[in-house]
């Protein structure tokens, strides 16, 4: 491999990138657009869910309960109704996702048994939201009951200790607030890098074919290895810039806690970039049209990364066969590393296995890419 040729190819490629501002702008704007889309659009949390209430009792106690719903960050009371029909209508129209109906013997029941029940009507068309909302509603209600019971005890036996019931206090590590955003965003970074990386290089060889410059290039003594290295270098730098942008947006804009070391991220990102750039290059060598290559690159990177990398669906909940398949998905390792570095502060030592896996991927892809290009025009 001759350095001068690599440099000549890299400089030429860089000039072509600069001359085609569309692709450069796309490469640099993509992180912002995609991060905004995925960061805001792909939330699995239920917050400020629009609900309506129908208070059949209208007592101080029932109002106190409804105030608790209003105070919860999970719910937002958007309507107060006085009939079942109105409630049904609101759920049907979808203006409310849940209705809380307080029975007319609510206070009485509470005073008698320190236990209450209210009716919750849920819009089950969105199963995930409905389940979560029911859980949150339960939590609001039991909180209210505990308070009432406690106050009742205090009233009747001022010296008595708090009623002695045992409760599990769960503490969540690494994502203390259980913000789904905190685990979605590191995964989103992996998805965006895979998309951009493969897109960028998928065009590079196809463009030479389409513009007819390949014939002359093939007639020169440049070797396939020199061509590959020279062509990937500028995109590697753009990829690193993009990765920096994505990670900065994740940490600074979306406030995903960043507990690891930048150096770990740099190593992992470099390896991942080599893999995706190499895949794009391979596609470009195989498919001589820019549009075709770009479509295939999209397909090859987007589907496995979204579905099988653990970015949006937890791998350990997949069927065993599919779990096995995820080991063959390069994005899986990067997603694991990103989440661990961001949320756990893991370092190179803890991440040795996924890093090694990415390294193997990078080597295999680079070897394939260097060999794939044949210097003939047959």
């Amino acid at each position: 491999m001759k350095l001068r040729r690599v440099r000549a190819v890299a400089r030429k490629e860089l000039l072509q990138i600069v001359r085609d501002p569309r692709s450069l702008v796309m490469a640099l704007l993509m992180p912002f657009l995609q991060m905004a889309l995925l960061g805001y659009g792909m939330s699995l949390d239920v917050k400020h869910l629009p609900i309506c209430v129908f208070d059949r009792e209208g007592s101080q106690t029932s109002q106190a309960l409804l105030k608790r719903f209003q105070a919860s960050i999970y719910f937002e009371i958007v309507a107060v109704f006085a009939s079942y029909d109105a409630v049904k209508d609101a759920i049907d129209r979808g203006t409310c996702k849940m209705a809380i109906i307080v029975p007319n013997d609510f206070s009485q029941h509470l005073a008698d048994s320190h236990a209450t029940s209210v009716q919750a009507i849920l819009d089950g068309t969105d199963e995930n939201t409905a389940t979560l909302a029911a859980g949150y509603a339960q939590a609001v209600l039991s909180g209210f009951q505990t308070d009432v019971a406690f106050r009742w005890n205090a009233l009747h036996a001022p010296t008595a200790r708090e009623p002695g019931h045992l409760a599990v206090q769960s503490r969540v590590w690494f994502n203390e607030d259980l913000e789904s955003r905190n685990f979605i965003i590191p995964g989103a970074v992996a998805l965006i890098m895979a998309l951009i990386g493969a897109q960028l290089t998928s065009l590079t060889i196809a463009r030479e074919w389409e513009r007819g410059t390949m014939e002359l290039l093939v007639s020169t003594p440049v070797t396939p290895m020199e061509l590959m290295v020279g062509k990937l270098m500028p995109y590697f730098i753009i990829g690193l810039v993009d990765a920096g942008l994505c990670l900065a947006i994740a940490a600074l804009w979306f406030d995903v806690p960043f507990r690891g070391a930048t150096s770990t991220l740099f190593v992992a990102t470099s390896l991942f970039l080599l893999v995706v750039l190499g895949i794009g290059y391979l596609i470009s060598v195989g498919i001589k049209s820019q549009i075709g290559a770009s479509q295939i690159a999209l397909l090859v990177t987007m589907l496995p990364t979204t579905i099988l990398s653990g970015m949006s669906f937890p791998i350990d909940q997949m069927p065993a066969a599919i779990q096995g398949l995820t080991y063959a998905i390069f994005a899986r390792y990067y997603v694991t590393i990103l989440k661990a570095v961001f949320l756990k502060g893991a370092g190179v030592a803890e991440l040795a296995i996924p890093l090694a896996a990415l390294g193997v991927w990078a080597c295999v892809i680079a070897a394939l890419a260097a060999r794939a290009f044949r210097k003939t025009i047959d």
Binding site: K2, R4, R5, R7, A8, V9, R11, K12, L15, Q16, R19, D20, R211, G212, T213, M214, E215, L216, L217, V218, S219, T220, P221, V222, T223, K375, T376, I377, D378
Partner: protein, 313 residues
């Protein structure tokens, strides 16, 4: 001095069932300007591409600069310059950027790089336009720049595939001046063209049709012998009846209208008198019959016609 630069031994290229190049053999001596002449699709480009190692021959062998192309294509590529039929420099790069790119790819020594690039710019007549994007240049300039890029590394052998197609006559002349200047420096040039006048500028020409090498020789040689008999110009009053009468006459190999006269090719047993008599019998008034020197175009048309007849038979 007379070393062999290029050898083609029964070079054959098949694309599926179509034979683009059919067992073409020739030898080119160093410093020679060899012209490939033939209609479009005759196999000129395919032959050149096989010699450059861009296409693998289906059969046969190519040796360029003493190196077997199949064994060491990179070794060959170091020693050749190639200009493809289709313009293939980078249009989105400037003149200077293209030249610097190819200088880097060919690893032109740094101490002569600036001088070689300046020479190429000068040769292409692009002085002062080094910063112009190549896609903004007119055809002639583009072609000369492509030649400039192809000779940056001073290759001993140049392959030029229709370098002057679509270029105005003045630019074509200038381009041929450049080719001859390089040949004088000992560069071997294989150039394809479909302009007959350009064929005259070559030391030797190879006539290619339908994948076959139809004739090979110096232009003068071909004109003198390839037709197989003298060529006569017949001026008369009625062209149609004249051609009818002449083509029925035994010993007449070919007739072709040429302006308001007829070109007639006869074998050596016929004379002008035979023609005059035949025409008079047909009632055609003959103004004059004179022997003429055939042009390469006559040779070309005649040989291609004969090749087609043979292929069809």
């Amino acid at each position: 001095m007379n070393a062999t630069a290029i050898v083609a031994e029964s070079l054959t290229k098949r694309f599926g069932t179509f034979t683009a190049v059919d067992a073409v053999s020739f030898t080119i001596t160093a410093g020679e300007v060899m012209g490939f002449i033939g209609p479009n699709g005759a196999g000129k480009s395919t032959t050149i591409r096989m010699l450059c190692g861009l296409l693998r021959p289906s059969a046969g062998r190519a040796v360029v600069a003493g190196i077997d192309v199949a064994c060491d294509p990179e070794g060959v590529r170091q020693r050749i310059g190639y200009m493809s039929q289709k313009f293939s420099l980078y249009g989105d790069l400037t003149v200077g950027e293209n030249l610097r790119f190819f200088a880097g790819i060919y690893r032109v020594p740094t101490n002569v790089r600036a001088e070689r690039i300046a020479f190429a710019v000068d040769m292409a007549g692009l002085k002062g336009r080094e910063h112009a994007l190549v896609q903004t240049l007119a055809g002639g300039w583009k072609q000369r720049l492509a030649l400039g890029c192809a000779i940056l590394h001073r290759p001993p052998i140049l392959f030029l595939d229709e370098p002057t197609s679509g270029v105005d006559p003045d630019s074509r002349r200038r381009f041929w001046d450049l080719i001859h200047a390089m040949a004088e420096d000992g560069v071997t040039v294989l150039v394809s063209t479909h302009y007959m006048d350009e064929a005259e500028y070559c030391n030797r020409i190879a006539l290619i049709d339908a994948g076959r090498l139809v004739a090979l020789g110096r232009p003068g040689e071909l004109k003198a012998t390839a037709l197989g008999g003298p060529l006569l110009l017949v001026e008369c009053d009625q062209l149609g009846p004249a051609i009818d009468a002449l083509s029925r006459l035994p010993g007449v190999l070919d007739t072709a209208p040429f302006g308001n006269a007829v070109h007639v090719l006869i074998d050596h047993a016929r004379t002008e008198g035979d023609l005059a008599m035949a025409l008079r019998r047909a009632g055609v008034r003959v103004r004059r019959i004179v022997p003429i020197a055939p042009s390469l175009e006559d040779v070309f048309v005649r040989l291609v016609g004969r090749n087609r007849k043979q292929t069809a038979a």
